[in-house]
Amino acid sequence: MNDLPCQTPTTLAPVTEPIIRFIDVHKWYGDFHVLKGIDLEVCRGERIVICGPSGSGKSTLIRCINRLEEHQRGKIIVDDTELTANIKNIEKIRTEVGMVFQHFNLFPHRTIIENLTLGPIQVRRVPRREAEETAMHYLDKVHIAEQARKFPGQLSGGQQQRVAIARSLCMKPKIMLFDEPTSALDPEMVKEVLDVMIGLAEEGMTMIVVSHEMGFARSVAHRVLFMDYGVIVEGAPPEEFFSNPQHERTKLFLSQILD
């Protein structure tokens, strides 16, 4: 495997310790072996795009990082804390890891601003006024501040996904995970979401993105990983990954999605 050491990804990423480490991680759903020995290190400020056919384990991989899925063997260490059954550790890690879902998963019974302030008020114990100021700041950043008092059902898919990103950002996370953030969107809305993500990347956020948006991968990622059958087949900086894939399966996959 072609893991890049942490000091080199690009000039953008600072020289740091890895913030996420997977050490020989295995996971099964019943008898189905989803993750087969994942080794991966992600540095602070690094941006990784994971692609691969459906069922290859890429969503499961990132969902293990905030323990929405439990791994059964190996170690996952996030920001110097190992993920175990210890619920306190899990909740601490979840406050530091933001996640954006394919289907947005906004809370439909709360207004946009209430969606954004729930986490900070309940988990971080931020006073309401301050939480609302932060929320408005991030809503402004995703260009949707004027919708603050509406309910999620009144917004378009692209707007909802931008709200979901802002909701995660309100927790001031160190890492952002994106699980196919544009797959459920109408084509004309993909760009507005990707633009927000690019803006985030420019600020140096650590990002792991499961996506088939190869244009996004090319322009933003430090590294592109290709997964198939529960293993990371290969990983390389985008220019290398797209121009010179090493494995047959990668070549086949790229030829299918780049047409």
């Binding site: 619920i87 979840r94 406050t95 890891v97 933001g98 019974h109 986490g119 309940q122 988990v123 979901a164």
Partner: protein
């Protein structure tokens, strides 16, 4: 083939909004559309009309024209109209039962307070912590009013509580306590902790497998046998506990349905923000799940309200039982239709208020 030039745009290119076609119908149109829209409908309309003509006039005659309102029983027996006098003459006993007559302003005031609080609580904008405290104070005041024992308020044994106040007491406390207990049981049944889940499942299935009557019997007869010598628990409280336990089991199953209808993404989104179990339930899952199950929940609450009348079998004198006692008085024997219609109307008003309020709540939430 030559391509056609593009069709000219309409004169106003942001097309004028067209008014919807006029569908107002007038009386005849309404009748046609609603009563005679098909052969079957026309037939049904005619049948119902004929039945109404046949049965309504005699009914109205019986209930309102030939009826007696404030007469003696003897006067009633002489002609065929309804004898509402059975109610007006016995109203005090039907409503207040054995409560000392000179003290009956107290249950009256307590009921007025209860109804006032219920009416006040209808507006969702008033659902604040202060309202909860108001209720606690209100319930305490009602308790003091009923029980007495203060200077100026002679004590009244709970065995003398009866009639409408008892029905309201059993119903309101039954519903108010059963609802949260049912929610807790539903959450317990979904728990990842096997012991808690098993306990909840056993409780729910046991209670649901037994009729309310047998629970009431157990509370009245069996349960005191297990208490240590000298300790007794008030019969009303025992019946109340049976009603609460019974209703809670049914509410638990309804709420579980609501919980299972919640998409997994809602749990995941809440968890990924770092919310713990209680925060997730309190702020994300329950507000949505409980809203989905308002209609079946209200169904259960309504039937719980009506089921309070089963306490007659353990000799508590609720509204139904005081009415029956009145009818067993030889003077008023034989006027049960009128008396039961009156009781039915009281139940109808209460149940209708509950269901129409639930519909409003569903719209607003």
């Amino acid at each position: 083939m030559a391509t056609l030039p593009p069709a000219p745009l309409p004169e106003h290119d942001h097309a004028d909004a067209i008014r919807p076609p006029i569908v107002a119908l007038g009386v005849i149109g309404w009748v046609r559309q609603n009563l005679f829209s098909s052969v079957l409908n026309s037939l049904l309309t005619l049948v119902i009309l004929a039945a109404a003509l046949r049965f309504l006039p005699p009914l109205i005659r019986w209930a309102f024209i030939d009826s007696h309102w404030f007469s003696t029983a003897a006067a009633c027996r002489n002609d065929g109209g309804a004898c509402w006098s059975v109610i007006s003459a016995n109203l005090r006993f039907i409503i207040f039962g054995f409560y000392p007559p000179d003290q009956q302003w107290r249950p009256l005031l307590a009921m007025a307070l209860l109804i006032g609080l219920l009416l006040y609580s209808r507006e969702r904008t008033r659902w604040k912590p202060a309202l909860l405290y108001t209720w606690l104070v209100g319930l305490a005041v009602m308790g003091v009013l009923m029980r007495g024992g203060l200077p100026g308020l002679p004590g009244v044994e709970s065995s003398q509580w009866s009639g409408l106040p008892l029905t309201f007491l059993l119903a309101v406390f039954g519903m108010v306590a059963a609802y949260p207990l049912g929610v807790v049981l539903a959450l317990g049944r979904q728990s990842h902790m096997p012991v808690i889940r098993a306990m909840c499942v056993v409780y729910i299935e046991l209670i649901r497998g037994v009729p309310l009557i047998s629970l009431l019997f157990m509370s009245a007869i069996l349960f005191p046998l297990f208490l240590p010598e000298g300790l007794t628990i008030n019969k009303i409280i025992r019946a109340q506990a049976a009603i609460i336990m019974f209703t809670a089991a049914y509410i638990a199953e309804v709420v579980r349905g609501g919980l299972q209808a919640m998409p997994r993404g809602q749990y995941e989104a809440a968890q990924s923000l770092g919310l713990n179990y209680f925060q997730t339930m309190r702020h994300v899952i329950l507000p949505q799940a409980l809203k989905i199950v308002i209609p079946p929940t209200v169904g259960i609450l309504i039937s719980a309200f009506k089921d309070t009348s089963l306490v007659v079998i353990i000799a508590l004198y609720d509204l139904l039982k005081t009415t029956q006692s009145t009818l067993s008085n030889p003077v008023w024997m034989g006027f049960s239709v009128e008396a039961y219609i009156f009781i039915a109307l009281i139940y109808l008003v209460c149940c209708h208020a509950m269901s129409s309020y639930s519909r409003r709540l569903e719209r607003e939430l």
